[in-house]
Symmetry: C2
Subunit: 233 residues, 2 copies
DNA sequence: TCCCGAGTTTGCGCCAGCGCAAATTGTCCA
DNA sequence: TGGACAATTTGCGCTGGCGCAAACTCGGGA
C-alpha cells in the first residue's frame, strides 16, 4: 500500500471534471500499490477480481498462446484504465499485465464497479469510451496485419510508440521505457531477427537511433513515408 | 419503414429480461427498415447518426484501406447490435456495413442513446458487454494473425462461421449466407487464390463441401485439428 | 434455352521474411 | 575490474504463400 497525494492523480485526464472531493473519495475507495519492473499485475486466465488505473509507469499487456508464443496486445500509459474486460462481463483476465518499468497502480474490486460508475458518471463514460477506442485500434491493427508488409508494420508501431510514450531528447523522440527487438516483434507479428535487420537499416539511413532496449526516432517524417509507402525503402 | 410484430424481437436475447411493455416502447422509439442484399446500411467515415440492431439477416462489416484494400471486420448475426462505436464517443463510422442477404434492421438516433441506456439498463449493459466481447475477439484475431499459418487461420474462420451462423443440413453444417473465396480471404488476411486452393484440398479430403458462395463443413472435428495443429495437413 | 459475367480453379515463378546458427556487444553483478 | 549473461547483429538457405495469367464453370437474365 502506498500513500498517494491527490495531486498525483488530479493531473490525469481520467479524473478531470471531478471535484477535489470526488477525487478524494474515489481515491479512498481504491487501494494503491507499487509494482517493480517485470513484476506481474495480473495473469491471463486468472480470476478477475479488480480493475486498475495506472498512475505512473508503463505496462505491457501480453497474450500467450497455448503453445507459449506471446503477442503484445498493447502498452498502457499513465492515466489509463486497464484490466476492465472483467468489468464488462468477463470473469477471467484475457491477458497478462506486466510492469515495463517500476509502476504505481490504483486498484478497485470489481464489485465496486457498478457503484463507482453510478457515483462518477464521467468515470464510467470515459471507460466505455476507452474500450470503444481500443476496439477501433485493435481493428486497425488487424487491417495492418492483413494488408501491410512487415517493414510498414514495424514503422507504424514505432511511430505509435513515439507518439504515445515518446520523450523528446536532443537527438530525437525516445521511447520512454525499455523495449527490446523481441518486444517490437511481438507487437508486429514478426521475428526479432527481422526487426533487428530493419532497425539496423534505418539506423544506417539516419532515421532512428537505437541501442539495447532503446529506440529513438530521429526522423519521424521519413518513418511515416516508410509506414505508408507500398514500395520498398 | 416496416411494420414489425413484437414477436419478431421478443425472441432475441437482447430483448429478454424486458417486459412486453418495455419491448413495445423500445420498438416505438426505433425506426425499422429493410435492406436488400448488397445494399449499404452505413458507410465508413460517414457521420454517425444512428446505431442499429439486426432483426433478420446477416451483415458484413468491412474496413477499406486508403489504397482500396478491404478487410472484413466481422459478420453481424440476428439480434446483434452494431454501428455503436459512435454511441461510444466516435463521430464517424469506422467501417462500412453491407447487407450480406436481405435484412431487417432497427435504428435509433444516437441522441437517444443516453436516454435508452437509462430507461433500459439491460440494453445498455448488454451493449457494453458486447463491445467488450468484440474487443476480446478482435484481439484473438490479432494473435491468430501473428502466430498462425494461413491454413490454420482459414480453418479457424470457417469453424467460427459454422458455429455462429451454421445451419444444419443433411450433409453437414452450412454457412447461412453467400460467402465467396474473396470474402474468406478478407477475413483471414490472405488471397482468394490461396483460399481456393485450401478449400479444394479440404473438399478432396472430405472435410468440407463447397460451391459458389457456399461452404458446408462436413467434418468439423478434422477442421479443428487443422486449426490447432502446427504441422501440415 | 442460350449467353454472359462473376466466381472459381489451377499452374508457374518468385521473393519476403522465417528458421537456424554463430559471432558480437553491451550491462550488471560479484 | 572481470566475467557472465542477455540482447543484438548478421549470414545463409529455404519455403509458404503471393502475384500473374489463363482456363473453366456455374447461375441468372434476356
Amino acid at each position: 500500500m502506498v500513500a498517494l497525494d491527490r495531486s498525483l492523480i488530479s493531473r490525469l485526464p481520467l479524473f478531470q471534471g471531478m471535484t477535489p472531493e470526488e477525487q478524494s473519495e474515489l481515491l479512498r475507495s481504491a487501494r494503491s500499490s507499487r509494482y517493480a519492473k517485470d513484476s506481474t499485475i495480473f495473469e491471463q486466465e486468472a480470476e478477475a477480481n479488480s480493475f486498475f488505473v495506472l498512475i505512473a509507469g508503463h505496462i505491457r499487456v501480453v497474450r500467450t498462446t497455448p503453445d507459449g508464443q506471446q503477442v503484445i496486445a498493447r502498452y498502457i500509459s499513465e492515466g489509463e484504465i486497464f484490466g476492465v474486460a472483467a468489468a464488462l462481463g468477463r470473469t477471467t483476465y484475457p491477458a497478462t499485465a506486466v510492469a515495463a518499468v517500476d509502476c504505481v497502480v490504483l486498484a478497485w474490486a470489481n464489485s465496486q464497479w457498478a457503484e463507482l460508475a453510478r457515483r462518477f458518471p464521467v468515470f464510467g463514460a470515459t471507460t466505455y469510451k476507452t474500450v470503444g477506442t481500443r476496439l477501433q485500434e485493435t481493428q486497425t491493427r488487424v487491417v495492418e496485419m492483413s494488408t501491410e508488409q512487415v517493414e510498414q508494420r514495424v514503422a507504424h508501431a514505432l511511430l505509435r510508440l513515439a507518439n504515445q510514450t515518446g520523450r523528446k531528447t536532443d537527438s530525437g523522440i525516445e521511447i520512454d521505457f525499455p523495449i527490446s527487438r523481441q518486444d517490437i516483434a511481438e507487437m508486429t507479428g514478426t521475428t526479432l531477427h527481422t526487426v533487428s535487420r530493419l532497425l539496423s537499416k534505418w539506423e544506417d539511413n539516419g532515421i532512428i537511433l537505437s541501442g539495447r532496449q532503446k529506440v529513438t526516432v530521429k526522423d519521424a517524417h521519413r518513418l511515416v513515408v516508410l509506414a505508408e509507402n507500398r514500395d520498398k525503402g
